[in-house]
């Protein structure tokens, strides 16, 4: 119980199954197929800069929409009775129990031409292409990761002492001031962890853009493609993605304490 040695098995585990594979990504990025040093993989990765930008753009918009949708939702939940809160939070997590690919396919069916939404819309005279555009990709991302935004926000908001809000009201704050001076500042750790939990996976996911964006490719899709054809280029792309995510996390962590993540 008092022994530090207990950490040893997992330390060895991490060295073998976390660190060595990451080192392999780095070494593979700078090697050609026969193992000689080269920078050509990196320059090949640079050719995909448009795809990187597109992925970051999609991730940024999706994260923003998730935040705007989740914030009022989490606030409403945090005002409910404890019993109701646990039931609502459970109901929010339940859809995540159906496989990610199936939920994605569900949206493909819902949004396809002649699908249920299209039928209703064309019945009232609206004819729009619901699928195969960036909007559909963003919808897929928001759908996939909205619960990851609601949860940490709800965690911090439910911890806000009700007396603080009442005190602010007693001291003459209107509801806007209560929000801007009490609720919002106290919810910042939740916002930060929610942003990280939505942005990172939505920037790196694959398949969503292929299925909802009409064969559009995000960075995850490109990495998946190279996985069989050219693992060295794939490593270089994975390395770039990792560096971007790392920079992103360092920046967001400036705004809040990472300990607050309530997964």
């Amino acid at each position: 119980m008092k022994s530090k040695k207990l950490a040893l098995p997992y330390a060895v585990w991490m060295a073998v199954f976390t660190l060595v594979p990451l080192v392999l990504i780095i070494t593979n990025s700078f090697q050609d197929k026969s193992g000689n040093f080269t920078l050509s993989n990196i320059s090949k990765a640079w050719e995909y800069r448009e795809v990187f930008l597109y992925s970051l753009e999609i991730a940024f918009v999706s994260t923003l929409i998730c935040l705007l949708l989740a914030y009022p939702m989490s606030y409403m939940i945090s005002r409910m009775s404890e019993k109701a809160q646990s039931i609502i939070i459970m109901l929010i997590t339940v859809p995540m129990w159906m496989n990610f690919l199936l939920r994605l396919l569900g949206w493909v069916i819902l949004l396809s031409d002649g699908g249920p939404i299209d039928t209703v819309l064309s019945f009232v005279g609206i004819n729009v292409k619901l699928k195969d555009n960036d909007g559909a990709v963003i919808l897929g991302m928001v759908y996939e990761y909205l619960p990851f935004m609601i949860m940490p926000l709800h965690t911090v908001m439910s911890k806000i002492d009700k007396n603080l809000i009442e005190a602010a009201q007693d001291l003459g704050s209107n509801s806007f001031k209560v929000f801007s001076k009490v609720v919002f500042p106290l919810s910042i750790p939740g916002i930060v962890s929610g942003i990280t939990m939505v942005f990172v996976p939505s920037a790196s996911t694959f398949l969503v853009a292929q299925y909802l964006g009409g064969n559009k490719k995000m960075i995850g899709d490109i990495i998946e493609e190279t996985f069989r054809s050219n693992q060295n280029v794939g490593s270089a792309l994975a390395l770039c993605l990792m560096i971007i995510i790392l920079i992103f996390i360092v920046i967001t962590n400036q705004f809040g304490d990472e300990e607050a993540v309530g997964v």
Binding site: L6, Y10, F17, P21, S81, P95, N99, G106, L110
Partner: protein, 266 residues
């Protein structure tokens, strides 16, 4: 407690409709007699029967359940032991340990999957093996253990340090003190770590996809392979069943928790 106003209720309702829309599609399709996504053609239970006759689907379900149980078991043990060891660290070593442990959580899944694929193929060329059951299992233990540590460590910090010493003073040896006292204090964290691991493992597609090799298939991989075919009502039926089972388990445990907390207050 203020009651919610009508606009708030409507807003919540809309969010829930959004969250449940694609799931409804599958529940409907699983009862659809036509093998099609767009034509509804009468109500049937036949896909539910056919699921159990589909050897490949059943095998993949068994594989998924086996991988999920084993990886949850191993990562719970590995993570709990590591949490206790880490609890005795202070300062920089602890921070480094925690950071490295969090890498699989923070890193994009596709990077983790890709790096493990490189690692396993590298080992495979040396020791002459192909990726399959074992590599998927190792990969799953790798991404589950950090979640166990995240759920056990807070319980360790909350625990009264003196109860372990009290147990020693009262004549327990180290092992007895751990199994009779400390373990019970940590149990809620250990159980939730186990459940998180089990469910993440069961649902994982990306990391399994990169580490499963050419022969071994879990449920999500079978689903992925069937995506390219038009529709697969059997998979809808199987997923609906799994979904119902999971909701039932969640509801029952949740209701029990609520009951327990109610009787605690009395």
């Amino acid at each position: 407690m203020k009651k919610l106003h009508l606009p708030s209720k409507l807003y919540m309702l809309l969010i829930f409709m959004f969250l449940y829309a694609p799931i409804t599609v599958f529940v409907v399709l699983s009862f659809n007699d036509a093998n099609s996504a767009t034509n509804l053609d009468g109500f049937t239970f036949r896909w539910y029967g056919e699921v159990f006759r589909d050897r490949m689907l059943m095998q993949s379900l068994r594989n998924s359940l086996l991988i999920a149980s084993l990886s949850a078991l191993f990562s719970t043990i590995l993570g709990t032991v590591a949490s206790i060891g880490m609890y005795n660290f202070r300062g920089a070593p602890r921070r480094i340990f925690q950071t490295v442990s969090n890498i699989p959580i923070i890193n994009p899944e596709i990077v983790t999957g890709f790096s493990l694929m490189l690692f396993f193929t590298f080992l495979g060329t040396i020791f002459n093996f192909e990726m399959g059951f074992i590599t998927v299992l190792l990969a799953h233990i790798g991404f589950c253990t950090p979640y166990v540590i995240l759920s056990v460590s807070p319980k360790l910090r909350q625990m009264d340090k003196h109860i372990y010493e009290a147990a020693l003073d009262l004549g327990c040896n180290q092992w007895q003190a751990f199994f009779k006292v400390v373990l019970f204090e940590l149990l809620p964290g250990i159980i939730s770590g186990f459940l998180i691991s089990f469910t993440y493992s069961l649902d994982d597609f990306v990391i399994s996809y990169f580490t499963c090799g050419p022969q071994f298939q879990t449920m999500p991989i079978v689903i992925y392979n069937s995506l390219r075919r038009p529709v697969y009502p059997k998979i809808s039926a199987l997923s609906t069943m799994l979904f119902v089972v999971i909701i039932t388990v969640l509801l029952v445990t949740n209701i029990r928790d609520l009951r327990a907390s109610k009787s605690d207050k009395k």
